[in-house]
């Protein structure tokens, strides 16, 4: 089961992704979180310190190859495979893979081609994969996987956020990313504006699976730099996500 969370930068994708993981973990299923947005901070939201990203691994391999440090006969697939496994951060309840920065100059066709297959193989070992991805769907189309089961598009109540959400639906079709379901999550809704906002959002024609209210405690966690995954179980954001997980029959 692959769940991708996308949306315009700053709409709260990371909040949604981390709470999804919070809500899904604890069972006997193997969970992998993939941070595929170079601008996001999913690791911090999950309370994890990252030492090495896929981007780092990619650059290391490029450098070692150019300098002739890799024995001729050694298989680069295997080396890359090992290094990717090494960059997976393993916790008792879920694992995390951080894609990191996009590539520098030079040719990355070969290494990206290898990476795509390696990450596919790695992912096939997990029951649930949650990908926090950027609005351009770069990683989905080129690097990680093109098969998404559930695409969750997050928007805030701004016009721009809603427009981006609409564009993501179109883009995923253009990029040939197949998904079985696509739903919209509206974040940072003020209770008093709810009806108004939902009316506007429903005009997009996208199915709204959940609404997350603006919550003082989320701001406080952000300011204090506390991991969002540690938000209290009864916080409104967490309750909303648990409902979504139930509605999607993920638990």
């Amino acid at each position: 089961m692959i769940i991708a969370v996308s949306g315009k930068g700053g709409v709260g994708k990371t909040l949604i992704s981390s709470l999804l993981i919070k809500s899904l973990k604890g069972g006997d299923r193997d969970i992998l979180a993939i941070d595929a947005d170079p601008d996001s901070n999913l690791p911090e939201a999950l309370g994890i310190k990252v030492e090495r990203t896929v981007g780092n691994v990619r650059e290391e391999l490029k450098k070692d190859t150019a300098a002739g440090n890799i024995p001729q006969e050694a298989n680069k697939w295997d080396i890359l495979d090992y290094k990717i496994m090494e960059s997976v951060i393993e916790t008792p309840e879920f694992d995390l893979l951080v894609m990191g920065r996009p590539e520098g100059s030079g040719c990355y066709c070969a290494v990206n081609n290898m990476l795509r297959k390696i990450i596919e193989t790695l992912s096939s070992n997990y029951d649930i994969i949650v990908i926090d991805t950027e609005a351009g769907l770069e990683h989905l189309s080129r690097r990680t996987t093109q098969n998404v089961d559930i695409m969750l598009v997050v928007t805030d109540t701004s016009k721009k956020g809603i427009l981006t959400a609409q564009r993501i639906e179109k883009l995923s079709k253009e990029l040939d990313i197949s998904f079985k379901e696509l739903h919209l999550i509206v974040n940072r809704v003020k209770p008093e504006n709810k009806d108004d906002v939902l009316k506007k959002v429903s005009e997009t024609g996208l199915n709204i699976i959940g609404t997350v209210y603006e919550d003082e405690i989320v701001y406080r966690y952000d300011i204090e730099g506390k991991p969002l995954i540690d938000l209290p179980d009864d916080s409104s954001a967490n309750t909303a996500i648990s409902m979504i997980v139930k509605d999607l029959k993920l638990k």
């Binding site: 190859t65 006969e73 298989n75 697939w77 393993e90 100059s105 030079g106 066709c109 290494v111």
Partner: protein, 460 residues
């Protein structure tokens, strides 16, 4: 066949990863050490299996142990050269065992055993057993096989030394493999999404332009995914051994480039140089004034002696175009003894950035090292010529000879001075310039240089 092994053994478990949360123990890997080695030997006791050190049943959950797999094989047709090929299969075959994860090769192996496998009664002895059965099945030339597994620290350390010595021997041999030693080369069209007519020909002496893959990598990739972007190509008839021209390579390139390119010289920048995708690590460019070849790499930010930076040059000769006088290169190719051999190799090189020159010290013939200028020694053609003369670069002899043939009365010194007094500025340089002249005629200027005494830019 595997009835006394308590877990499933099947190719369907390839790619199995064991999360630390589901793992019983880790063997080798980044937090410990480990190695595997296949050796052809005499007097192998067929079917022998031993575990030196603790068995899984003697380990505790969550531990990390050093790990070694030593496989000795014997057979009439077995040669030492096959050790590497057979050893490469150990990775896949270990992964056939359900609940056993194996990554990478040589002294970089990383294994894990799952809790489920240990609960089912799985032991390292079973791993050894599975390996000996699977290897014999896959390589019928193996008549006798013995497997030793080490988990005892001192044993693993001693084994690591033996293994590393064996890898060194193998690597030296692999370094020496040249185009003549193999029957097939590989074609790669991974970059065709943006350079539709570009085909890389990868040979033991010529790694792909991007530098990412060599002949061995292609062999592995073509085997894993025969329908993929990397495929085998036979040599066919050897048309020119010096230039590196082969009939089947020409046919393949013609086919895969949609007829855009039908001849390729693997080891020359002249006539039919290898095409370039756009992502090469460096470019070799012909400098007509000096009849020599300059090299510039992607990381060099300054201007080349042609007056343009790497980026501009890359733009002109990339995209799968065959442009005489230019060819994309990988750093690896510059370490090959066949490096532009048809053009004279390093004897023809008259300029290169300091950084790459330093990285190639071992590969540039010793007597030439001091004779090839870098950006610190010379920037313009004039400065380069001066440097080459002062340092007696072999190209000077070549230039003199060429001049002598054309105009015997005129000395080389005079010509060069005359040429440089003329106050002209080069305003444009194009390796290939095509103009539509009307009437269905197209004029192509190759290596065109446009000189002007004065350039006037005026508003209309």
């Amino acid at each position: 066949m595997f009835e006394d092994i308590p877990v499933d053994v099947s190719p369907m478990y390839e790619g199995e990863r064991i999360r630390s949360a589901n793992m019983f123990v880790e063997l080798g890997g980044p937090k410990s050490s480990g190695a595997e080695l296949v050796q052809v030997a005499e007097d192998v006791e067929d079917g022998s299996l031993e575990v030196v050190g603790s068995e899984l049943s003697e380990m505790s959950e969550g531990e990390i142990h050093p790990f070694g797999i030593s496989i000795q094989i014997q057979g009439e047709k077995l040669e030492k050269e096959l050790e590497g090929v057979i050893e490469r299969r150990v990775h896949e075959l270990c992964n056939y065992v359900k609940g056993f994860m194996h990554l990478n090769q040589r002294d970089q192996i990383w294994c894990r055993v799952s809790k489920d496998a240990v609960e089912a009664g799985f032991k390292l002895e079973h791993l050894g057993k599975a390996l000996s059965i699977l290897l014999k099945e896959e390589f019928p030339i193996i008549e006798k096989i013995a497997v030793s597994i080490f988990t005892e620290k001192s044993e693993v350390e001693a084994f690591l030394e033996t293994a590393r010595a064996a890898y060194d021997v193998r690597d030296t041999r692999a370094m020496e493999i040249s185009d003549e030693d193999v029957d097939v080369f590989y074609g790669c069209v991974m970059c065709q999404s943006f350079a539709p007519s570009h085909v890389c020909v990868v040979t033991p002496d010529r790694t792909a332009l991007c530098g990412a893959i060599n002949w061995f990598d292609c062999r592995a990739a073509a085997k894993m995914d025969p329908e993929g972007p990397i495929f085998e190509v036979t040599k066919g008839e050897v048309l020119d051994v010096e230039k590196g021209e082969y009939s089947d390579v020409n046919a393949m390139v013609s086919d895969r480039s949609q007829g855009m390119v039908d001849r390729v010289y693997l080891h020359s920048v002249f006539e039919y140089p290898h095409t370039s995708c756009g992502c090469f690590e460096a470019v070799a460019f012909y400098v007509p004034e000096l009849d020599g070849i300059g090299i510039v790499d992607r990381d060099f930010r300054g201007e080349t002696p042609l007056g343009i930076p790497f980026s501009a040059m890359a733009g002109q000769c990339s995209g799968g175009k065959q442009v005489e006088g230019f060819t994309g290169l990988s750093m690896g190719y510059m370490r090959s003894p066949k490096f532009l051999q048809a053009d004279g190799g390093y004897e023809r090189v008259i300029w290169m950035p300091k950084e790459i020159k330093e990285s190639l010290t071992e590969f540039i013939p010793g007597d030439l090292i001091g004779k090839i200028p870098t950006e610190e020694d010379a920037g313009s053609i004039k400065e380069i010529r001066k440097f080459l003369k002062e340092h007696e670069h072999p190209i000077i002899e070549r230039l003199k000879q060429a001049k002598g043939e054309v105009e015997e009365s005129e000395t080389f010194e005079e010509v060069s001075d005359e040429g440089e007094i003329t106050p002209t500025a080069q305003v444009a340089y194009a390796p290939e310039l095509s103009m539509h002249a009307g009437g269905g005629v197209k004029i192509i200027l190759k290596n065109a240089k446009i000189y002007a005494e004065k350039v006037i830019i005026r508003k209309k």
